[in-house]
């Protein structure tokens, strides 16, 4: 007896030991972040940029994630999206170590959490047309005295999810507002009112609308056109319409890029916003090119733009007011949409509509050590045509034909990598100037630089980027964005300023995977239905008109009494009307039928097919065995 109980206790003790070891091993394993993200889009793995940011945090960040998970009626795709956001935030918390704290809140109606959510700037979305049921899906970030909120995570923006969160963390933990330099030959910063001692004061010019937009996020420092050296405290520089820049200034830009700066340059073969041309014309001088280019620099990097040619693309044509005020279709006044943008690039991935009046194309191959991304391009049927002709309105469909280049023409590109200088001789010297030997001119990039080239300047001008809204209060005017032009500028600066953390952040994939086949069936059915519906609708209209005609004739001739034929006609037409409406309803019902029957077939297949096969197999096997044992 004793032997068996001691064996039991030995066994039990052994088990306890094993349990203890198991728990210990599990605890260790829980701390080891070794995992395999098998999802196609690596949905649950944060990018290097974010890791770097989180690893280098020196202050605490509190993330408050608000999601109305207990709200009934929340669509399941929203719940799944919320789960994905929560998982991603957990990763942020994990990688942020002790600096990042994540709180999950459910703002139930009339609860404290709901009040906090509203105060934090979160916006709920209504689930029904009356706004009774609302769902919150937002994030509030706070670090020290600074805070920011993502009011609502729209599922359409899923690809920007990591970028949105990382950007927000960067904004509240960064020491200062990123400074952006602005070098422009056009009066974008506005002009002070001119003093006229003899008469009424002439009004000054307002800065261009985009400057105000940028000032929301960045500190803008305007640089002189003749600057010879870009200040070291500027990491991001926007250059607008670099017409007639001196070699010294171009050299400054070159060195800026080589020291790791981010250059965003807008050049234009045909800049209509260049007033100096118009002023020149008014004074009787022949119109000169209002064009600008940076070929002096970009040639060294493998890229060039022909300043005399603009892109003509039939698929992006816009109706504009041509010569003499007539509306005209211009193929060089480009209205660019999703198909023209590289969806994988953050700066343009979410843009819907960008308008480029007379843009140039960039040609060439990036030099060694550089990588080129095309952000915006034309369709493949586009071609180049002389800029002057384009403005004269010679690009109507009946105008001179242009031969397509056969490939899409890039109009906005981004170069990254190690740049080589465009001034191998060093700092340019004027005639008679002594050689300056103690100036260190960089021959090659000391840090990876970024150069964004956009082939149009007019897109940022007020007439083409915004719509003025007259509020009527003492002439105060507000504006609204007419398209995504300024958003493009904002994105470009956002993506290329601050730190390299955001530069490498690619747009992540989406977790939504619709049933393509079913969607295609729905579209095909909808098309079919539309054709049928149009036909039936026409029939219906015919019947109705005939009916009303009959009524009218009746009223004209015989005020009160209907002839029996007429009555019969009316009845017949009424019947027809009912028939046609019924047919319409049937067509609508039928179009779902294909889809429903597919669903049913698949359901049966999945529930019954294999079990049936297994049962059959088993019965057969059983039958064979029984037969064998019987004989």
């Amino acid at each position: 007896m004793k032997k068996t109980t001691s064996k039991l206790t030995a066994g039990a003790a052994g088990l306890l030991l094993v349990a203890g070891i198991a728990v210990a091993v599990n605890l260790i394993a829980a701390r080891t972040p070794v995992r395999a993200d098998l999802t196609r889009e690596k949905l649950y793995t944060l990018s290097d940029g974010t890791r770097k940011l989180l690893g280098g945090l020196d202050r605490d960040v509190t993330l408050k994630f608000y999601f109305s998970r207990s709200q009934p009626g929340t669509p399941s795709y929203l719940k799944q999206y919320a789960q994905r956001i929560q998982d991603l935030l957990r990763e942020y918390e994990r990688l942020g170590g002790s600096h990042v704290t994540l709180e999950l809140l459910d703002p139930k109606p009339d609860s404290d959490e709901e009040e906090w959510a509203q105060r934090s700037g979160l916006q709920a979305q209504a689930l029904d047309p009356y706004g009774l049921a609302q769902v919150y899906l937002g994030l509030h970030l706070q670090s020290g005295a600074r805070e920011q909120a993502v009011p609502f995570f729209a599922p359409q923006e899923e690809e920007r999810l990591e970028y949105t969160i990382t950007r927000a963390i960067l904004d509240i933990t960064e020491a200062k507002k990123p400074k952006v330099g602005l070098l422009s030959t056009l009066p974008v910063m506005g002009a002070p009112p001119m003093m006229n001692p003899f008469g009424p004061r002439q009004g000054g010019e307002e800065p261009w609308a985009f400057v105000g937009e940028l000032r929301n996020q960045f500190e803008i420092e305007s640089l002189s056109q003749t600057i010879a050296e870009i200040p070291t405290n500027i990491d991001t520089l926007v250059v607008l319409h670099p017409k007639g820049l001196s070699d010294d200034t171009l050299f400054a830009l070159d060195q800026f890029v080589l020291r790791g700066g981010r250059l965003i340059a807008f050049v234009d073969p045909q800049c209509v916003s260049d007033q100096s041309q118009q002023q020149g014309m008014m004074m009787g001088m022949p119109p000169g090119p209002g064009s600008s280019d940076l070929n002096r620099l970009t040639k060294a990097w493998g890229i060039e733009m022909d300043p005399a040619m603009v892109v003509s693309d039939g698929t992006a044509a816009t109706m504009i007011r041509g010569m003499g005020g007539r509306p005209q279709r211009s193929t060089s006044w480009l209205s660019l949409r999703g198909a023209n943008m590289d969806r994988s690039q953050l700066a343009v991935g979410t843009l819907d509509f960008v308008m480029l009046p007379f843009a140039g194309a960039f040609k060439g191959k990036p030099a060694d050590g550089l990588k080129m991304d095309t952000l915006i391009k034309s369709s493949e049927s586009a071609a180049e045509m002389p800029g002057m002709e384009a403005t004269m309105g010679n690009d109507s469909p009946f105008g001179p034909k242009v031969t397509p280049a056969g490939a899409a023409l890039p109009m906005a590109i981004r170069l990254t990598g190690t740049f080589k200088t465009a001034f191998p001789e060093g700092k340019p010297r004027g005639e008679g100037e002594p050689v300056v030997t103690n100036v260190v001119a960089l021959k090659e990039g000391t840090k990876p630089g970024v150069v964004v080239l956009v082939g149009d300047v007019d897109l940022l001008a007020d007439p083409f980027a915004v719509r003025r809204i007259d509020l009527g209060m003492m002439g105060y005017q507000a504006y609204e964005l007419a398209n995504d032009n300024i958003v493009l500028l904002n994105n470009l600066i956002e993506q290329n300023s601050g730190s390299d953390i955001l530069i490498g952040l690619r747009s992540r994939g989406t977790s939504r995977r619709p049933f393509d086949r079913v969607v295609a069936m729905e579209e095909a059915a909808a098309q079919q239905w539309r054709a049928e519906e149009e036909r039936l609708q026409e029939q219906l209209n015919d019947v109705r008109t005939k009916l009303s005609e009959l009524q009218r004739t009746k009223n004209k001739e015989q005020q009160l009494v209907l002839s029996p034929e007429q009555r019969r006609e009316i009845d017949k037409f009424r019947e027809q009307q009912v028939e046609v409406s019924k047919r319409l309803k049937e067509v609508r019902k039928n179009l779902r039928q294909d889809i429903e029957s597919l669903g049913l077939k698949l359901k049966i297949l999945n529930i019954a097919a294999v079990p049936f096969a297994v049962a059959l197999f088993g019965l057969l096997l059983g039958g064979i065995r029984r037969g064998r044992s019987a004989s």
Partner: protein
Amino acid sequence: MSSFSFVRSVTRREWQSYFNSPVAYVFLVIFLSLAGFFTFQVRRLFDEGQADLQAFFTWHPWLYLILVPAATMRAWAEERRSGTMELLLTLPIRPMHAIAGKFLAAWLFMGLALLLTFPVPLTVWYLGDPDLGAIAAGYVGSFLLAGAYVAVGQFTSSLTRNQVISFILAVVIGLFLILAGWPPVTEMLASWAPVRFVEAVASFSFMYHYEWMQRGVIHVRDIVYFGSIVVFMLLATQVVLENRKGK
């Protein structure tokens, strides 16, 4: 003969015995039709319109909870009842060989059941463009989960000669291991317990360690967890059997 071949022969014997009786077929038919039913009828996979198998994998813990104990309850109870237990244990093999062999046979059988669910991923692949990596991870997770349930079932089966008791015990243990991490339970706990405690309790549960694999990410800690459950349960089975040897 090496340990490996001992184990292998036990496995083969067990496997064949599965298919010699109606048990295997009944189990497969029920498992597959229930899985299909829950996925397509209850969770309406087709109508939801998303080409992923979350609606499918989410049922596995619950299906296993009921069906696996039913399949494993006879593992040792049967031997004990029919008297072949002694025979088995006196063969020149160690008890652990027999235990491992039976476990493997049952686990592989579950693997077969999972394989036979192939129409489901085939359906979403036909309808759309599913994330195959995530689906693969889901199957891996389900297979590991099944292994854990099987190990629990083996253990409870060794405790008694009554199959019904074995079944009930296995379901109860399984229920504990699921509920510890089930959102409604964790939320209830969270209302009065500190977060650390709730998380610690949840980390003992099947759900906690199955969740990520459903979504497509395989964590080492989840593999270690399921492995620990299996090892612990098999060792526990050994202790039980060795102490019952006399009886």
